[in-house]
Amino acid sequence: MTVWEGILVAIFCISMVFFVLIGLSLLIKGFSFILGIFSSQMKQDTTPVPAQSETVLENELSLGILKLKDVDEPTAAMIMAIVSDESGIPLSELCFKSIKLLRQD
């Protein structure tokens, strides 16, 4: 095999790799989209209409009352987001009881 033939083979090979993986990524996007529609429809079908107002729903989803001590809300939100990101647990599944500033005296 000459070097030129080698270059042609290499170009063909990388093109095929891109072709297959681009195809796969489009396919994943496609099935994620379809499954998203499907699962949202399933949720709509199975979730009973709440008899109470939205505030009741919010209360049901609430994971408790968070006590902040010497910490402002943006900082607390950032801490919760970091904990969620680092632990890989979605925020909706985490329960924070209190966040307080520790001072070194």
Partner: protein, 378 residues
């Protein structure tokens, strides 16, 4: 009589058959054992490989000897090596890898597959250079696949295209995978600006269980229909992943990702190492293969990073180009290196999950590249 017996034992011992080539190979084996134990260079594989090298180079042991006749038994490693020769072990290792891998980050951001494709660039460069250096196309393809940074894939392809090069290619592939934390960072720094490395990426969306279950089925159907030669690798990888994600065969999933992969790793490592006998290994070609492997690895990293930069530019700075370097398979070490480098530039940067997408895409990418090369030269 006693002295005669001692003399006879001495005459039939391995010491009498020892040549300088054997001694060199025993030293090579000891260096590899040192690197595995002391330096912890990919010890799970390097240690059995190194011990296999040692066993195969002790003369008269005959561990890799073929049976002389149908009634006689061959060496122990000869029979174990059949699993490598027939492509069984790499596929079983892929089963375990599939059971251990979470494809969630890839499903959440499918564009990661492009980075996995870009990181196969080194395979192409190494192939051309190997052809220019006079290697046959089958040999060049086997050497080039080192750039995929995927040991089982490299072994799978080499056993089919150029089995005589297996020891050098396997040792080079696993050594470079172990050296990722040293090879990649300088290239990452050279090809990216500090501003690019500082980019914080937004959190990935949550992937539903249904998507995770559908993923291995869809990938298997598409890849195997398109490239039937890749069926043993992709098929097993996705079967392992389906075990994991389905949640109904926990015992099988646990076996695949623990006991099975460990047993196969022992057999694969020892027998691959045992093919490195002095006559095959101590050749100028081995040095060329080691050099070409390093080049393939470097260019694969470059390819991933350049594509990462392109995606960074196209998304107006939403993608940190460092995650492109994780497109070389080497799961999860390449992703960890991207995380470390990202955090060095910006301590608030958490790239690990973002880098896992290209990282697992690289596994698929290198298997696809191997399938293409096998279709062309197999």
């Amino acid at each position: 009589m006693f002295i005669e017996a001692l003399h006879e034992i001495w005459k039939t011992s391995g010491f009498m058959a020892l040549t300088w080539q054997h001694v060199v190979m025993i030293i090579v084996a000891c260096v590899l054992i040192y690197l595995a134990i002391v330096k912890k260079f990919e010890p799970l594989l390097l240690l059995p490989i190194a011990f296999g090298v040692l066993l195969a180079n002790l003369p008269l042991a005959g561990l890799m000897a073929e049976p002389a006749s149908a009634s006689e038994a061959g060496g122990l490693l000869y029979y174990l090596y059949l699993g490598v020769k027939k492509g069984i072990y790499p596929s079983l290792i892929f089963l375990g890898i599939g059971a251990m891998t979470d494809f969630g980050p890839l499903i959440a951001r499918p564009s990661s597959l492009l980075l996995g494709a870009g990181a196969q660039f080194g395979i192409c460069i190494a192939f051309v250079v190997a052809v220019a250096l006079g290697f046959a196309p089958e040999e060049a393809a086997s050497i080039a696949i080192i750039g995929g940074a995927d040991g089982p894939t490299a072994i799978f392809l080499t056993t089919r295209l150029a089995p005589e090069l297996l020891p050098a290619i396997a040792i080079a592939a696993y050594s470079y995978m172990a050296l990722i934390p040293m090879i990649q960072p300088p290239i990452m720094k050279a090809l990216t600006t500090k501003k690019e490395r500082e980019i914080e990426m937004s959190q990935l969306r949550e992937v539903s269980k249904l998507e995770k279950i559908c993923f291995p089925i869809v990938v298997t159907i598409v890849c195997v229909l398109l490239l039937p030669s890749v069926a043993p690798l992709i098929g097993m990888l996705m079967l392992g992943n389906l075990f994991r994600e389905s949640g109904v065969v926990e015992r099988l999933s646990n076996t695949a990702q623990n006991a099975l992969i460990n047993i196969v790793t022992i057999f694969l490592g020892v027998t691959v190492g045992a093919t490195a006998v002095a006559e095959n290994f101590l050749r100028p070609e081995t040095l060329k293969i080691i050099g070409l492997g390093l080049m393939a690895f470097i260019f694969s990293t470059v390819g991933g990073l350049l594509l990462g930069k392109l995606m960074c530019w196209l998304t107006k700075g939403k993608i940190n180009p460092l995650i492109g370097s994780a497109g070389v398979s080497a799961v999860p070490m390449a992703a960890r290196v991207a995380q470390i480098e990202g955090q060095k530039a910006n301590p608030a940067n958490f790239l690990l999950m973002h880098a896992m997408g290209p990282n697992v895409a690289g596994v698929i990418g290198s298997a696809v590249a191997a399938g293409i090369l096998l279709s062309l030269f197999g």
